[in-house]
């Protein structure tokens, strides 16, 4: 849908545009229809300062002139002032900002330096001086304002251009030999158009404020021509006796500024909407999620008492139109001191599952089935207070991107110490000492030097080790690691995996690791759970999965791994794509891509079965896979 149509679908935007259209129309028409108002020195002096009446809908001013007609005629000069400033602003700021952002180098440095210089100028003073040189010249005043305000917009355009210049499709276009002008106009300009329009309407509001302010000071428009600011000034001079007179022009200014600001906001919302899918209103869905969670019936804790016991867990995301289930009927457990891996490809629901365990589903997500047993409590029904007691103290969490999982404004040692003080009630000196101990446990050779660094001063591998240290501050029994090594170099990954193994041995800590890398599974995990399209399709100890995969998906995935394929051969491929949540078929979700599929596969949902003890699979054709 085109941008304009998307914009106008919002009632607020429509109202603003309509109002501004009216204001513009009045500006054009009114002085033509009422030509005498601009030069009217005085009206009927005996009818001065009257409040609204039928003959004068907004009353009369101190010199007996009709307020409404002055308001309508004064619209034009006010609007022209805004337009003048806006034109100068855009003509200066947009090309310079684009040039500085896209070309970089000297152009960028010179333009930025000039902008910094102009930023240091006192705008109001300069404008007043200019106006003293060109008295009552609105053009001079507004142009000056435009020039002085341009650096601000230029900076915004520049910082909007910089990330787009780094986008790969721009690089690809450059590599294709497309001309700079083409790239600027066809690729970059459309992407920043949204930002420019938003800022333009906000700056128009500011320009309106400046224009009316200067008119208020009687510097801009020569009497007796009306202007909104001038009318406020006129009213102010008789404020104590006739307070009404400042109301009509003030209201006109306020409503127009409101319309311009609102337009800017709605344009910004409309641009963002294009790149992302619509999200249901958070508050409503969060409330609904809470209510539904409490409404579910209680279940009894499992008898065997593992550390973590997830039973038939189902998770959905609430949408505006319908709810979408993303995880269905997931059951697995983690024993104390065990390392369990959840492996699957993107979209299979593995990360959502771990988020649900610690109660950190995004606003519109909710658990709508099953239970999560930990420490004798069902976490899926626990209150926020209960969950907070567990987080960090019993269950630690480490995520994928180490560089952004630490607060950039605090030193890394301080962040670990904070967790220590929080969970173990240590004093500051004790926390500092323990922080160094923890860092030494993380195989840092110089913990003191690391602790005083900020996150941006250490490498990704180091940051991940710091994040693990912080997660361990409360001495948790279970560490959940969501793709902890995906963003790291392979040599660094090896260190982290070794660290995790060591932690399991020295601290008797269980680890639940989410990964897409089968090598990590082979290296680290005692048991593995394979997920596909929101379900568990295979579950067993690691060696069995590799030796005899019992689900066609696992088998195909292992076969297409370049690590395992013979050299220079075509890799076996799984045809088709994963069915996304919301379009899951009724029967086996892998059947459309499975080479062993028969009609019975897609007929009904397939339950998990255990052809061997402790090696379970969700496949009715498992006999085809069991090698003799």
């Amino acid at each position: 849908m085109s941008f304009l149509r998307r914009l106008l679908r919002r009632p607020l935007a429509l109202a603003c545009c309509a109002y501004l259209a009216i204001v513009t129309a009045v500006a054009i028409v009114a002085p033509i229809v009422m030509p005498s108002v601009n030069s009217q020195d005085a009206g009927d002096l005996f009818a001065a300062n009257q409040l609204p009446s039928w003959s004068h809908l907004l009353g009369t001013d101190t010199l007996g002139r009709d307020v409404l007609s002055r308001l309508l005629v004064g619209d034009r000069v006010t609007l022209i002032g805004v337009v003048e400033a806006l034109v100068v602003l855009l003509v200066l700021a947009v090309p310079l900002g684009l040039a500085a952002g896209y070309l970089g180098g000297w152009t960028d440095r010179v333009v930025t330096w000039l902008a910094d210089l102009t930023f240091s100028l006192p705008a109001v003073v300069i404008i007043i001086v200019v106006l003293s040189v060109f008295p009552a010249s609105m053009l001079a005043g507004m142009v000056t304002f435009g020039v002085i305000a341009a650096p601000g917009l230029m900076r915004i355009v520049r910082s909007a251009t910089l990330p787009i210049r780094e986008e790969l499709y721009v690089k690809a276009a450059e590599a294709s030999g497309l001309s700079r002008t083409y790239i600027l106009t066809r690729h970059i300009l459309p992407r920043i158009a949204g930002v420019v329009i938003v800022q333009a309407s906000l700056l128009a509001a500011v320009a309106l404020g400046v224009q009316t302010g200067l008119a208020f000071l009687k510097l801009l428009v020569a009497a007796p021509a009306p202007s909104w600011g001038g009318m406020v000034a006129d009213g102010t001079s008789v404020l104590l006796l006739h307070p009404w007179l400042i109301v009509p022009p003030g209201a006109a200014i306020a409503i127009t500024m409101l319309a311009l600001s609102l337009l800017g906001d709605t344009v910004r919302d409309a641009t963002v909407e294009n790149w992302s899918a619509p999200v249901a209103t958070r508050a409503a869905t969060k409330a609904r999620a809470k209510a539904e969670a409490q409404a579910r019936a209680e279940t009894a804790p499992p008898a065997e008492g593992r550390l973590l016991d997830v039973r038939q867990l189902s998770i959905s995301f609430l949408g505006r139109e319908r709810d979408v289930r993303v995880v269905e009927d997931v059951t697995f457990d983690v024993a104390a001191g065990e390392i369990v891996g959840i492996v699957g490809e993107s979209g299979c629901g593995k990360s959502v599952t771990t988020a649900a365990i610690v109660g950190l589903l995004p606003g519109s997500g909710r658990i709508d089935g099953g239970s999560i047993w930990f420490g004798g409590k069902d976490l899926s029904r626990a209150s926020e207070a209960d969950l907070r007691a567990l987080r960090g103290r019993k269950i630690g969490f480490v995520s994928q991107e180490p560089m952004v999982s630490l607060d950039p404004v605090y030193r890394v040692g301080a962040q670990i110490a904070e967790a220590l003080r929080q969970h173990r009630g240590l004093s500051r000196p004790a926390a500092r000492a323990r922080t160094l101990e923890l860092l030494r446990d993380m195989h840092f050779t110089d913990p003191g030097a690391v602790a005083v660094r900020y996150p941006h001063e250490i490498s990704g591998g180091m940051a991940q080790r710091v994040a693990i240290a912080r997660a361990l501050a409360g001495e948790p029994e279970l560490l959940i690691a969501d793709e902890p090594t995906t963003a790291l170099d392979v040599t660094v990954q090896a260190e982290i995996l070794e660290l995790l193994r060591e932690l399991r041995t020295t601290r008797q800590m269980a680890v639940l690791i989410v990964t897409h890398d089968w090598g990590v599974v082979a290296d680290l995990c005692d048991r593995v759970v394979v997920m596909y399209a929101g379900q568990i399709v295979e579950r067993s100890d690691t060696q069995s999965v590799f030796d005899t995969p019992l689900h066609p998906y696992t088998e195909a995935l292992l076969a297409s791994n370049p690590h395992l394929a013979p050299e220079a051969a075509t890799l076996p491929v799984i045809p088709g794509t994963v069915p996304p949540p919301g379009s899951w078929p009724a029967g086996c979700r892998f059947s459309a891509r499975c080479r062993y599929a028969v009609p019975a596969c897609s007929a009904h949902a397939v339950p998990i079965d255990a052809p061997y003890q402790a090696h379970e699979t969700r496949c009715i054709r498992v006999d085809q896979l069991i090698k003799p």
Binding site: I126, I128, A205, R282, D407, P408, A419
Partner: protein
């Protein structure tokens, strides 16, 4: 070098050529004016000889660059000349009015910062209806021009309720209570825009930060909500808010001119307007210098605060 000192040094170094350029430009501009001081004072019916005598007496017949050089020499020793109209030393004239404008500016900034940031944090945490209400209030605060708000405040609080004086200024040395009373309405008029702007920006910055990954990780590892909001979120959000504060300060500086007019406060604004219309060159040049220094000082404070708050821009 300490990054803070380096930032300060850079600003000061940039300020020097800036002041040269700005004052030179002012001289140039004022000399272009159609009228001149002589005509303003002696009227339009004086004889050419009288104009010439007047100009010679005040050194206005000299070529422009000589006048500028003269002014510059004296300025560097702290003497900004005398007003052509009142004969009062410019430094004195400005010095008398500076406290008024500064009281207004700093007062409005302080009120905006405290209430605006507070409202912003509150609405970011509450969300939902509270957030929407805050947005609406902010929008209204943006849209009401300060001079109009000032006038309405006078009508309501000075005329109808008679709680505060409508116009006039009491200096703090005369009577602190009176000083406060004379400033309350003007500061309120000026601060409304500031509160609205800061509330909105703070709310957006807080929401952005609260959605960031490091906050999620802190939460999932059990850091208390209070710590998360005040130690982590606010600190990160303040980086953006500080920049907005700086821009706001410069904008409010312009607003003081308008508000001083409405409330008849004897500040720099009214002097500026009169001097400019009268082509009182020494006063105008002096004002430009003072205002530029104020803006540079504001930008410097913002830079320092930014570097202090954001470790990422400190280059070791």
């Amino acid at each position: 070098m300490n990054p803070v000192l380096r930032v300060m040094a850079r600003r000061c170094v940039m300020a020097v050529p800036l002041l040269f350029v700005v004052s030179a430009l002012t001289f140039l501009l004022v000399s272009l004016t159609p009228g001149n001081a002589a005509q303003e004072i002696l009227g339009t019916s004086a004889t050419p000889a009288e104009y010439a005598a007047f100009n010679r007496a005040l050194g206005l017949n000299l070529p422009l660059y000589e006048q500028y050089w003269d002014w510059l020499r004296h300025a560097l020793t702290g003497n900004l000349g005398q007003s052509i109209f009142t004969g009062q030393p410019v430094v004195q004239a400005i010095g008398q009015r500076l406290p008024v404008t500064l009281s207004l500016l700093v007062g409005a900034l302080a009120v905006s910062a405290v209430i605006g940031v507070g409202l912003g944090v509150f609405s970011a945490l509450r969300g939902g209806a509270g957030g929407r209400a805050a947005d609406v209030l902010a929008l209204i605060g943006f849209s009401l021009p300060a001079f109009w708000v000032g006038a309405e405040l006078i009508v309501i609080f000075a005329v109808w309720l008679n709680w505060f004086p409508a116009t006039g200024y009491v200096s703090v040395s005369d009577s602190p209570a009176g000083w406060l009373r004379s400033l309350i309405l003007p500061v309120a008029a000026l601060a409304l825009y500031g509160i609205a702007s800061l509330a909105k920006q703070t709310r957006e910055a807080m929401l952005d930060v609260l959605a960031s990954e490091h906050i999620r990780m802190a939460r999932v590892n059990g850091i208390s909500p209070v710590s998360i909001v005040f130690r982590h979120a606010l600190r990160n959000a303040s980086i953006r808010v500080v920049t907005v504060l700086g821009l706001l300060a410069v904008g409010l500086l312009g607003g003081t001119v308008l508000v001083e007019n409405v409330f008849a406060l004897p500040g720099l604004g009214s002097l500026m307007v009169t001097a400019a219309t009268q082509h009182d060159l020494p006063v105008v040049a002096g004002m430009v210098v003072y205002f530029t220094v104020i803006v540079v000082a504001i930008n410097l404070l913002v830079d320092v605060a930014y570097v202090w708050l954001n470790p990422r821009v400190r280059v070791r």
